[in-house]
């Protein structure tokens, strides 16, 4: 896991990300969240972890590593945690960008930094991470098939043409973030956020990212059956 977080390459000067908040939905990831936060801090000084009612020591680990921790009194789901983080950044900070980042260490800090840099450079409001723009990400065929189906369903309903839909790594500029209001508490928020961001008609782009499937993240990841739940959640709102 260390290779993921160590030596974050600084394509962007450190101080440049002072106006950026990393938003990390956090639920029972005590074993890894400390490393994830510590690995991201040199590049992103502002990290908010939304502890979604974890029953382990996730919140303490995140705080000790140097993140700001917001607590949900009860477990609501990743979508709800994400929305709380977004609401926090929009209403209680002056941040210009926020980056949604998974707590389990699947995402690369370098990718996030490069996406923020791209957003600045090209004046983009939204940068979606996509693991299917290059072949760095190694996913099993079943996972790939399900993700591709999810992309297709999402594209049908959002009007955007994305290559990856359920990727937790996104850069959202303040004006776009202010117009996000997720009501899907569970996993269907991944499609919902694309839909709401698409409706803003603000400039967006995809960026190739590397999603690291460790044994840990595979163990915690969504089961294939869960895609049925997502579909039902999206249809019966």
């Amino acid at each position: 896991m260390g290779d993921r977080v160590s030596d974050p390459c600084h394509n962007v000067p450190m101080r440049a990300n002072d106006d950026t908040w990393l938003v990390v939905p956090l639920y029972n990831e005590a074993t890894v969240i400390g490393n994830v936060v510590a690995g991201a801090l040199p590049t992103f000084a502002n990290i908010v972890c939304v502890d979604d009612g974890s029953s382990d020591a996730s919140a303490v680990a995140a705080r000790d590593a140097g993140a700001l921790v917001i607590h949900h009194a009860t477990n609501l789901g990743q979508g709800a945690a994400l929305q709380t983080g977004i609401s926090y950044v929009v209403t209680q900070t002056d941040a210009e960008y926020l980056v949604t980042f998974d707590a389990d260490g699947q995402h690369q800090v370098d990718d996030a930094a490069a996406m923020v840099a791209l957003a600045r450079e090209k004046d983009l409001a939204i940068v979606f991470g996509s693991r299917f723009l290059d072949d760095r990400t190694k996913a099993g065929w079943l996972k790939k098939a399900i993700l591709k189906t999810a992309v297709w369903v999402t594209n049908q309903s959002t009007g955007l043409r994305l290559t990856d839909a359920h990727n937790g790594l996104r850069v959202i500029r303040r004006d776009a973030a202010a117009r996000v209001d997720l009501v899907q508490n569970r996993m269907a928020h991944a499609s919902e956020i694309v839909l709401q961001l698409g409706r803003t008609k603000l400039p967006w782009r995809e960026y190739p990212v590397h999603v690291l499937y460790t044994e840990y993240s595979k163990g915690k990841g969504q089961s294939v059956l869960n895609s049925v739940n997502i579909l039902v959640d999206l249809v019966f709102k």
């Binding site: 908040w21 801090l41 000084a45 502002n46 990290i47 939304v50 705080r63 140097g66 993140a67 700001l68 917001i70 607590h71 949900h72 009194a73 009860t74 609501l76 709800a80 929305q83 709380t84 609401s87 926090y88 209403t91 209680q92 900070t93 002056d94 941040a95 009501v183 508490n185 019966f236 709102k237």
Partner: protein, 142 residues
């Protein structure tokens, strides 16, 4: 005469259900619809009890074999609408709980950053004081 007891018991049951249903609260329009349906239910149930052949006649009238089948169909529809109503209600409740939890979470972090003790910081005094939180956003005091 042997019918009268079961008729009394069933009628009492229908009455009990009727009373319970009217007591639950919801918004006015739904409540009105529910009450109208309830009156219909009471009438049908009462007549089915008092005139046991009534349902069979009704079933024959609408082209269903037996009165029992008619009751079964009605129950299936009633059950499905119950499931749908409950699903919607549960979603609404989830949204309320989410909004409430989010408000509390955001209020709590606002208090923490303003230096006020919160349930969490005062419960664990070993926590670093929010004022020392170097990674926090610029302080926004009320």
């Amino acid at each position: 005469m042997d019918k009268i007891w079961i008729q009394l018991i069933l009628l009492a049951g229908v009455a009990a259900v009727a009373v319970t249903l009217t007591r639950s609260t919801a918004d006015a329009r739904h409540q009105a619809v529910r009450r109208v349906l309830l009156v219909g239910f009471v009438l049908v149930a009462a007549s089915a009890i008092l005139y046991p052949t009534f349902l069979s006649h009704l079933a024959a009238l609408v082209g269903v074999g037996r009165g029992t089948d008619l009751v079964l169909y009605a129950l299936v529809i009633a059950f499905l609408s119950y499931v749908a109503t409950m699903y919607r209600r549960m979603k609404m409740m989830d949204r309320r709980i989410t909004a409430l939890t989010r408000e509390i979470a955001l209020a709590e972090v606002r208090l923490e950053q303003a230096g006020y003790p919160t349930a969490r910081t005062s419960a664990s005094p070993s926590d670093p004081s929010p004022a020392d939180h170097t990674t926090g956003p610029p302080e926004r005091r009320p």
